[in-house]
């Protein structure tokens, strides 16, 4: 084990991520034994539907958590984007490309709102995002007059958007998601934005005293998060078409769980996009597996809750050992 731990390849990839991939594979094998349908391609495709929208949420919240903040509004914001854009589509006859832009803009606006209040008004992110979660839910309900909204079916006019998830049997969504993840990883690890976000997550005051506009960069993290929630909404409706106002909170925890499981520290300053991607796959597989086992959705809530606590606990303990 020691030898394995210290080998250069393991060090480069990170033990944590290797273990996570292991967990993912073991989980898949267990589910496949219990329910052989897991081996079928169409089942895998439908399981991937969950990965896409959750993945974009999780990627986004990784940036926010990297600053040492948190965003509990992403799930309802994602629903709000899907509802506002979908309602514009169905009731005001907005064309499909414009509806997509609306979805992304609504998400970005929530990002600006959250980011401004956190960075410039110094309101704790917990409070801000709790409040904007309710605002997102309320706003969506008001806008849609509390009606659920159905985006067009594949055969209907504008139905081409569903190809974003799956074209025939090709999982287009997977490629898009991985491409966005690569872009996120470059932004986080190689660009100025990511550097400032990680550094201010580690010690905001030191970064400020280095003459960096910390407020701007902190807000940027929230804008990235909100924008990705807007993109997430498009993939949600591409997979499931129908959205109901008043929901979406459960996806917060799932997105955050995927992120912290992947090695992003709740204390800020440390984040891993590849970890988040693997984490998202695990959460999505878990949700499919629970359904396959015939357990209801509530079990997934319990398990996600436990995962968040366990992941944060290990992070805190690891930190303490280092100090």
């Amino acid at each position: 084990m020691e030898k394995f731990k210290n080998s250069p390849i393991v060090k480069k990839i990170g033990l944590n991520r290797i273990l996570l991939v292991g967990v993912l594979i073991v989980m898949y094998i267990i589910f496949a034994i219990i329910s052989p349908t897991f081996l079928s391609y169409s089942r895998i495709l439908s399981a991937l539907n969950y990965v896409y929208f959750l993945g974009f949420l999780s990627l986004g919240v990784t940036f926010v958590i990297a600053t040492g903040g948190i965003d509990f509004s992403i799930g309802p914001v994602m629903f709000c984007c899907a509802l506002v854009a979908g309602y514009s589509l169905t009731s005001y006859g907005v064309p499909m490309p414009a509806a997509m832009v609306i979805s992304i803009l609504v998400g970005a606006c929530f990002g600006i709102f959250n980011g401004y209040l956190v960075a410039y008004c110094s309101i704790p992110p917990f409070i801000v995002s709790m409040a904007s979660m309710n605002i997102a839910k309320g706003l969506a309900s008001v806008f849609t007059k509390t009606q659920s909204v159905s985006w067009p079916q594949s055969s209907a006019e504008g139905g081409w958007y569903r190809n974003l998830v799956k074209m025939g049997n090709i999982p287009v969504g997977l490629f898009i998601f991985l491409a966005v993840a690569v872009v996120c990883a470059i932004i986080l690890n190689k660009s100025k934005i990511g550097r400032y976000i990680l550094c201010l997550g580690s010690n905001k005051e030191a970064v400020r005293l280095s003459g960096v506009n910390v407020k701007k960069w902190e807000m940027t993290a929230y804008i990235i998060c909100g924008t990705l929630a807007g993109i997430s909404a498009i993939f949600f409706v591409s997979a499931y078409t129908t959205v109901q106002p008043g929901y979406g909170d459960t996806y917060n925890n799932e997105a955050i769980a995927g992120c912290v499981m992947g090695g992003t520290s709740m204390a800020g300053g440390l984040a891993s996009i590849s970890g988040t991607v693997i984490g998202v796959f695990i959460i999505a597989l878990l949700q499919e597996g629970i359904m396959a086992l015939g357990l209801n959705k509530n079990f997934q809530l319990i398990i996600t809750g436990i995962i968040v606590i366990a992941a944060v606990y290990f992070d805190v303990m690891g930190r303490r050992r280092k100090n």
């Binding site: 580690s202 010690n203 005051e205 003459g211």
Partner: protein, 498 residues
């Protein structure tokens, strides 16, 4: 000196990649003050953490009162009578003195906390130590010195037999240090074993009986204090010649232009009508007691805290500095007294910290040029002799002196013309200190202008070309180095202002 109370023998401790303690020995007798000395990173704190159970040793033995022991946490060590008085005070400001001393083991009357009894017990403790502190006072209202006394009283109240002082004098004024020494001597009379960790050579000679010196995690030797000279100890600590070259006259040419001019600066109670000039190539010392308003002045100039009024001129031009961004753009760099909080992002690497103030220069399109960044960081690691395995090392793993060098590298990368060094050598060992002095002199020779805030008189006298003295938020005088003496500085620093 009495019998041996504590023996640590052949203590060995490794962390991943670091051999922190290599068979270190320490012996403490009853009724002695035993100095533990060594440069930063020599392993003093690690040794004390092994003793009090914060770290587990890899090998070696600890014998305490004749029995071999191993503590698993500080609580166990405390119960056995070994306590640490930390350099950073762990006090709750909104509780009373007595409540702080007995925190976690309050006297109770039924389920109620018995404040009356705690006050009485605290008073008894203070009497025993000859300290004059009201147990019912709020901790936050006391001076740092008095708070330290409370910390000591708290340690004694554990029925301590061995007390470890970890740089107790770092934040104290001269008179408070006198008082501290009186207490330490009393404790020695009472036959306690005392370990005294400090960087201040003068104190070691005054207060300690024996000295154990460590270097790079190894045990160098133990001396009897009165039989050795200051230089003996220093040589054991660093194994090299120390830079001691006090200034006798200003090195600044008479025609050097004024680079920074501050006029009637006001920022709260701590900065009142502050005016001064800084010339090109000058090291301007800021002297004064704790709480004289020197750091506050620096922070206000740098834009870290808001100003109420006042004008700042750089190269004769009036400038507006509303935040650190403005200051950095104008070529000012600020090295804070509290590196961990304000200087470095400890979870980030040496390279990442080095380029923090200049990242724009390392951006190629949208991506950071890692190669260039590594090159520059490596250049400063070499030129400042920063001790780090690589520029990709996390700053948290460096010692205080080396962290300071990373902060200096950050501002050198920025090529700032005006550098504010706030307590540049606080918590830094003798060897690294002289390196930082050399560096500051070199910077001044190259035409950088330096404001150096320092509470160490020797540092002020050794480094400054001119000295500004502050007291209670006001400048009380400015002295040229050729006329400066310890006495006239002290007079100005303690001057009563009507």
């Amino acid at each position: 000196m009495g019998d041996v109370i504590l023996t640590m023998k052949g203590i060995d401790k490794s962390f991943p990649g670091v051999h922190a303690l290599d068979h270190v020995n320490l012996e403490v007798r009853k009724g002695e003050v035993h100095a533990l000395m060594g440069e930063n990173g020599a392993g003093k704190s690690t040794l004390m953490k092994v003793l009090t159970g914060i770290y587990t040793k890899d090998s070696g033995t600890i014998t305490y009162e004749g029995k071999e022991i191993e503590f698993h946490n500080t609580r166990e060590a405390q119960d056995a009578g070994i306590v640490i008085v930390h350099q950073e005070l762990n006090m709750l400001n909104h509780l009373t003195v007595a409540q702080n001393i007995f925190i976690g083991r309050e006297f109770k009357k039924g389920i109620r906390i018995d404040d009356k009894r705690m006050n009485e017990e605290a008073r008894k403790l203070f009497n025993k130590l000859n300290i004059d502190i009201d147990p019912t006072a709020m901790m936050g209202d006391l001076t740092v010195g008095k708070q330290q006394m409370c910390e000591i009283a708290k340690a004694i109240s554990h029925e301590a037999k061995v007390i470890i002082f970890d740089e107790p004098s770092a934040a104290l004024t001269e008179s408070e240090i006198e008082e501290l020494f009186k207490i330490i001597r009393d404790l020695r009379e009472q036959n306690l074993g005392i370990v005294y960790i400090s960087h201040r050579m003068d104190e070691i000679k005054v207060i300690t009986d024996r000295v154990t010196v460590m270097r790079d995690g190894t045990y160098v030797g133990t001396l009897i204090t009165k039989d050795c000279t200051k230089n003996d100890i220093i040589n054991m600590m660093v194994g090299r010649v120390i830079y001691e070259d006090p200034k006798t006259h200003s090195m600044v040419p008479d025609d050097a232009p004024v680079i920074l001019k501050v006029e009637n600066l006001n920022a709260g109670k701590m900065v009142q009508n502050v005016s001064f000039e800084l010339r090109k190539g000058e090291i301007l010392g800021f002297s004064g007691l704790m709480g004289a308003g020197r750091t506050e002045t620096a922070r206000a100039i740098f834009g870290a805290d808001p100003k109420e009024s006042g004008d700042i001129y750089i190269n004769g031009e009036k400038v507006t500095i509303n935040n650190p961004q403005d200051a950095v753009k104008l070529g000012i760099g600020y090295l804070s007294e509290d590196r961990k909080r304000y200087g470095v992002a400890v979870q980030k690497t040496v390279a990442e910290n080095t380029t923090l103030a200049t990242l724009d220069e390392f951006v190629n399109g949208i991506l950071i040029d890692k190669k260039k960044e590594t090159e520059i960081a490596q250049k400063f690691v070499d030129s400042l002799a920063t001790k780090t395995p690589s520029v990709d090392q996390l700053v948290v793993n460096l010692s205080g002196g080396n962290q300071q060098k990373v902060v200096i590298a950050k501002w050198l990368t920025r090529n700032s013309d005006i550098l504010i060094f706030d307590e540049p050598t606080r918590g830094i060992d003798v060897g690294a200190k002289s390196e930082i002095y050399k560096l500051m002199n070199k910077l001044a020779e190259e035409g950088k202008s330096i404001i150096m805030i320092s509470s160490e008189m020797t540092e002020i006298l050794r480094m400054s070309d001119r000295i500004v003295i502050m007291c209670e938020g006001k400048i009380t005088g400015t002295i040229d180095i050729s006329e400066a003496t310890q006495e006239n500085i002290m007079n100005l620093a303690t001057r009563e202002i009507g």
